[in-house]
Symmetry: C2
Subunit: 213 residues, 2 copies
């Protein structure tokens, strides 16, 4: 197809497609003449993946090349490719005082994270950003006097394991590009579903505990 | 206590305390002389609440006055006060095309949200931002071809209801200021725990489905 149709079918503007071509994120089309090139279904799939990364995942364009190289490298196993995708998605781990490795609350929190992963038998790489995110939240809970004692970590872990198993098993079984796109959309949007439903559940639980009459 | 000690015990700098006094977020101390004032435990509690809103909740200082007025107004039931707190916490509902009320995906998503709330028997105000957050995520899932079919919404709802019941029941039973502080800390930090544990669970689920050897 020509660029105009590629733009129409992908929902990405011609100016943006040209930008992706210049940045090397989208391979060049087959040259037909000095001013004409032909694009195929591979270009369309690639554009949809880029769009999912940028628009759904909020990944900066500067970070996309590294992910695409994992998608393109057939020697990278699918699980590692999905890890690269997940690790690129926000929220980033908060640096600053949470990163102070001498902070006793932080040290205790990191041990809690390692203990949970071990107890659940989870296969998690040492560089998974979610380790940092969880340790930072647990350290903040430890250092805040007013922190309520919520459910044990294990209760969250078991609930999330059940949800994640269904989420991951429903990811597309297509080619690598389609698998990556499906994973991004699923990881980002189901996380938003989770957060929103959690807030609704908190509001109802508050009604049960605090509302009178 | 004097301002220096108030600063030390609250962990809030003297310059910031003076700013809160000027903005009317912190009531003036008892005047001892033209340059000296005395502060009490109420000031300390109030500072801790402001700090929780700003540092933990990420609420802009401009939005704090409205929350504090709900905390101070004893005629506002605790459940409504907690609602004001929760509704002030991010992420804000995304405006833009998700807000287009004629979008059929959006209309279907809103019906899904209303149906879930009804089915669960949840008590949720019509203005709860989590309704918008959930409808936006569900509409995005509907309009994305590559979206995996995750667990039914009901499965998320039941898992979150169980967690929220324990979370909310562990909120401080102190006075209104302490209740608000405890709720902010709990809502924000347990949401972060939830997100991080969810990501860890997804990584392990991906290992189960996609890793070989």
């Amino acid at each position: 197809v020509r660029m105009a149709e590629l733009s129409q079918r992908s929902g990405v503007s011609i100016a943006t497609i040209k930008y992706y071509l210049r940045e090397g994120l989208l391979p060049a089309g087959a040259v037909l003449s000095a001013t004409r090139a032909e694009y195929d279904e591979g270009h369309l799939r690639r554009l949809r993946l880029i769009r999912a990364l940028v628009e759904v995942g909020g990944v900066p364009v500067a970070g996309i090349g590294a992910i695409l190289s994992q998608v393109d490298d057939a020697s990278v196993p699918p699980h590692d490719m999905l890890g690269a995708v997940q690790y690129a998605l926000g929220p980033a781990a908060d640096p600053g005082r949470d990163g102070d490795s001498r902070d006793p609350d932080r040290i205790a929190a990191e041990a809690e994270v390692a203990g949970l992963i071990d107890e659940m038998g989870w296969r998690i790489t040492p560089r998974a950003p979610a380790r940092e995110l969880l340790a930072a939240a647990l350290a903040a809970l430890r250092r805040t006097d007013a922190a309520p004692a919520g459910p044990p970590l294990r209760v969250y872990a078991e609930a999330m394991a059940a949800l994640a198993a269904v989420e991951v098993s429903s990811i597309s079984s297509g080619n690598r590009t389609e698998l990556a796109e499906s994973a991004i959309v699923g990881m980002v949007l189901y996380e938003r579903v989770l957060i929103a439903v959690h807030r609704l559940a908190q509001e109802d639980a508050s009604a049960a505990v605090f509302a009178h009459g």
